[in-house]
Symmetry: C3
Subunit: 271 residues, 3 copies
């Protein structure tokens, strides 16, 4: 079982992130771009969306971390993803894979599989995506999962062992898995899946944390901060409409006390 | 004159939609993607934005309804629209056409005309778009209409008769027309045209209702729920800024009483 | 030193803009599209996002102003930018250049340089972008500037002299420069850089004002209205999350008193 971060560790990672203000290169989907940028800014990172093959390598060269999200993929974007990833690998800088909708179509599943073996530091997805990417028959519905994250921890651990990536599978409970096992993060709110692209935004901040912490710590810190912000934000909402704005405010105003109040980090129940 | 839905009928359609949670495939414009996804989620549907020719057919095969919106069209997207539509037609599943800006440029007008004859279940647009698509000289200004929906009911009925689609023309008053005539829906709010892509989002939820009701009922239910949500949302706003968020909250919190309070469904005045 | 607008001049420009409701053609980046459209609508303009080479010239022909923003550029979009710009020039209608991230990659820097010599009425950017476009070594970090606008007034004036454009460089203090010198606009709020694409939205409304005023007056009016709206909006926020919505409300509810309370227009300190 992997070591668990304390709330103090998470707070320290956030302080370091804010001090460094990492430049996060996003090659992400059209739906997620605006909310991801706002979430990264509220957290304390510097986001940029750059996708043309003519410049992705040059931009990757100046970035501190990269997130690749295949939500609205097409061949020119996939070509750019490959080039940006290669540049990050060569430079020893971290990149995060969000295999949106993996399992929904053969094209999407194939692209996700090809990216997964290019040494991502972290892979983050919902249960259906992670199960599909691990080669299990996941239960997806378009880009939404109808499986519970709890059911995907075995697949996540297997995927981690095969790819060398830390695998974060998020849902009602979130899990961070590597080859040695999974840690559970309890937090968030039921309104979160009703606001689009919040999972994509979580992948983006995972990349930001990966600029200042090793992959497993980065994933745990990102999921913890996001779960706390989501929970605090939802407490101020009567529906999903204002959730992205409240989430940004909660990230901007985050304190150690908010982390302690809204999230619990624990060993994952034996699967 | 087509039969009119009662508020109870609309509520029943919404309950069925929420129980089924239809997967709505969106090939829509860049501006509308995020708000359409949020509106669909708040309503109770499951949205996905998928546009690559490499996967649109596979995705259409698992979707319950499709919305085609030409707001930011380009040839690769138009090619994908044709493929996705064909797959829905073959499978007997509904698709909705939103001919954004039809009449503004020859390219846009031609693409809209080519799509309109591919058996959409419902066509939804503003007055200028529907008049242009019907072959009348509409009065558009870019993508905004400067004609009133009232002036477009004749064009809408003619377009419905020619294409076999139910035609929804929305504005200060909304109309649902088929070959037999038009039904009027009174609701909404003057702030709504000041918030971008709400019409596009209405087309998206029309597709969601088309997954659980025949086209005319689906269009009436969608316009009624949206008008009620828009009116309830605007009552909480002092400007257009928070309208999309409030609209999502209103959709999420919708009740039969809100429908009854904010909307009136009536026979259209004889044109 | 250029003449400065009074608050009454700015208000008059806004009243004229609202009366004319200019159609603003946006060829902009994916991140900025939705917020730019909402900001233009709240201001009183009519926005449209149209980018396909098959229709950009036809759309430019019916537009009152054009904004070109290279935030998420790629070759097909750059080709469309060139065509749209050429049509506006031929027709004697204004266009605005936002050279997002100029200096971050060679591709981006080259495209910005090629556009800058095509007679934009106004160029608006942050300090790093303007310094890079002027040929100085700017200090950018991805698409964010780490230079202060104060440091860029010399570059802005030089760029204005070379291109014939009015150059607006925005930051903690905003400056409007032409070959004769710079005017400073004091307003805005420290939360504004924490909400994505607000600078892009400012470029969009600069184009809207350019439809009703000569370039220097248009730039000053746009920056003044935006700074006032941003300051008024931020006063209602506890973080950046609700800032775009509050900004739209402030634009929609703008009054001469709000302008006078939140902004000061002054001669730029001698550089």
């Amino acid at each position: 079982m992997p070591e668990r971060l304390s709330i103090a560790d998470v707070w320290s990672a956030l302080e370091d992130l804010r001090a460094r203000r990492p430049l996060v290169h996003n090659i992400t989907n059209y739906v997620a771009m605006s909310v991801s940028a706002n979430v990264l800014l509220a957290l304390g990172a510097s986001p940029a969306m750059v996708h043309a093959v003519e410049e992705v390598e040059d931009f990757a060269a100046i970035s501190d971390a990269l997130v690749i999200n295949i939500g609205t993929l097409s061949p020119p974007w996939v070509a750019a993803m490959g080039k940006a990833v290669e540049r990050m690998r060569t430079a020893g800088k971290p990149w995060v894979l969000d295999p949106v909708g993996c399992g929904a179509t053969p094209y999407r599943t194939q692209v996700a599989a090809e990216l997964a073996v290019l040494s991502p530091a972290i892979i983050r997805g919902n249960a259906a995506e992670i199960m599909s990417l691990a080669g299990e028959s996941g239960a997806g519905k378009g880009v939404d999962s109808v499986s519970r994250a709890d059911d995907a921890t075995h697949a996540a651990a297997a995927l981690a062992a095969r790819t060398g990536a830390v695998v974060a599978v998020t849902g009602e409970v979130d899990y961070v898995c590597d080859g040695a096992g999974c840690t559970a993060i309890y937090g968030g709110h039921a309104l979160m899946p009703l606001s689009t692209a919040l999972g994509c935004s979580l992948s983006a901040i995972t990349a930001a944390f990966a600029a200042v912490r090793p992959p497993r710590e980065a994933a745990m810190a990102a999921l913890t901060v996001f779960a706390a912000a989501g929970s605090a934000a939802a407490a101020r909402c009567r529906g999903p409409g204002h959730l992205p704005a409240e989430l940004c405010d909660a990230l901007h105003l985050m304190t150690p006390a908010m982390l302690a109040e809204h999230v619990r980090i624990a060993a994952a129940p034996a699967g």
